[in-house]
């Protein structure tokens, strides 16, 4: 399978996605997100202190997952330059931002990845999160020592495993991904990840394989722990449940499977105002491979840049202006406010 972009699919155009998200359904039947947050007493969403700089190191990936909101894949060539990575280090120091969250694509495929993690470690970034797809560790000889590298820099790993069984995982992430993910998890356990007496954090991400919302995070975590321990003797720390947002390849799936209307109805019906204060866009700034800034990774994929005219780019990062901005919202935001809420750190309440 190729990316939407490589297939010249109409949905590779962010404008088209926004047109669909703001189409007929939200002109009568369903309440637009902005109206619903207004009713909840938050006419605008404002940020709090920037605690996380989420850096997208590039859209290149060794996998082509059916639900990918990034439209990542081997055919994507967008990679963050060393110049912008250096600028990110400067911003982290100047603004005392405690956490970096490295994502992609497969962030490890950026040629400057290891250098950047080493430098971030040197300047004392408190928490280095890497969103690893696991299979990258087995994709090429040059990645096989990644578990040792992660351990050396005390990297907090967050990895997708959408189900504890092969069939459903492979249906979303590609044939053979489950088996390779299991092998990679065993390698990570072997170097000490999620083992007693180490501080090496290994969290897994559950996201539904289809047009339904995630269930209770704690119940799913208990089941994952039981199944992975029994079947493969694998340990991990926490499970994060993440709702699929109706953009990019997941939007393509929803439309192609005739699930779009019902899925949007589910998201809107499940709108929970008590998730609003904890939304990840409050304390995160997302940076794309080309240095532009966004309220979150999803806004990045819809090309909705921050509403801060002088701080559009990492080269012009002005934390004061950014802290006074208004967070850009659209109908996809319902994905983060449904039920118990959803974020890159899982459920919100």
């Amino acid at each position: 399978m190729k990316s939407l972009k490589a297939r010249s699919n109409i949905l590779s155009k962010t404008q088209k996605q926004l047109e669909i998200l703001n189409g007929e359904l939200f002109q009568g039947e369903l309440t637009p997100f902005k109206d619903n947050i207004s009713k909840a007493g938050q006419a605008t969403l404002k940020p709090s202190t920037i605690e996380i700089l989420q850096i997208n190191l590039g859209y290149m990936c060794n996998q082509v997952c059916k639900h990918c909101h990034v439209d990542a894949g081997p055919d994507r060539k967008e990679i963050m330059s060393k110049e912008y990575l250096e600028k990110c280090l400067e911003i982290l120091q100047e603004n005392n931002i405690p956490t970096i969250d490295l994502t992609g694509g497969a962030p490890e495929m950026n040629p400057h990845f290891r250098w950047f993690v080493e430098e971030a470690s040197k300047i004392g970034v408190k928490e280095i999160i890497v969103r690893s797809n696991l299979t990258i560790i087995l994709a090429n000889k040059k990645f096989k020592d990644l578990p040792e590298f992660f351990k050396k820099h005390n990297v907090h790993l967050i990895s997708s495993l959408p189900f504890y069984e092969k069939k459903r995982t492979d249906a979303q992430r590609g044939e053979g991904v489950f088996d390779k993910s299991i092998q990679a998890l065993i390698m990570l356990n072997e170097v000490g990840y999620a083992q007693e007496g180490t501080n090496l954090q290994l969290d897994l991400v559950y996201n539904p394989v289809g047009a339904f919302l995630p269930g209770n995070q704690l119940e799913l975590e208990a089941e994952y722990k039981r199944k992975l321990k029994t079947d493969f003797n694998i340990d991990f720390n926490s499970l994060y449940t993440i709702t699929n947002l109706p953009i990019s390849r997941f939007l393509d799936y929803l439309l192609a499977s005739d699930n779009y209307d019902e899925y949007m109805e589910k998201l809107v019906e499940s709108f929970n105002p008590s998730t609003l204060d904890g939304l990840m866009c409050r304390n995160t700034i997302s940076v794309d491979w080309d240095g532009y800034l966004y309220d979150c990774d999803f806004n990045q994929m819809l090309a909705l840049r921050v509403d801060a005219p002088k701080s559009q780019h990492i080269n012009d990062f002005d934390s004061k202006e950014l802290s006074n901005r208004e967070i850009i919202v659209n109908q996809h935001c319902y994905g983060c406010t449904a039920g118990t809420g959803s974020s890159c750190q899982g459920s919100l309440i």
Partner: protein
């Protein structure tokens, strides 16, 4: 009824709560109790969803089959778990007929020489 109509309309599932229109007090009691039934207790939420899925097949309620297939999936049930729940339901239905075979045999034997 014209050819596009059916006794079962999938969109009616969303109107379930509207049964309160004709009798609000009892509906309120029903929905409170219903909500509590499906909360985790001695059984997990997923086990309760799978029981509901099995019962949905036994009572042949298409609304319940749609609702509890999705609920079971949300709660992490695999395809195998859901199909086993349907088999349990079918086995009890089939078994309920078969066990009456004993009654038939008793009667037949009593009537026979």
């Amino acid at each position: 009824m014209n050819k596009d109509q059916s006794y079962y309309n999938p969109s009616d599932l969303k109107k379930f709560s509207q049964i309160s229109e004709f009798e609000p007090k009892l509906a309120e009691k029903f929905f409170d109790w219903y909500g509590d039934v499906f909360k985790a207790g001695a059984l997990s939420e997923r086990e309760k969803s799978l029981i509901a899925l099995g019962v949905a097949h036994a009572v042949q309620c298409p609304y319940c089959i749609d609702a509890y297939t999705e609920e079971s999936m949300k709660k992490g049930a695999s395809e195998a778990m859901m199909m086993e729940a349907v088999h349990v339901s079918a086995a009890i239905r089939g078994g309920a007929s078969m066990v009456h075979g004993v009654q038939m045999m008793n009667k037949a034997k009593k009537l026979s020489m």
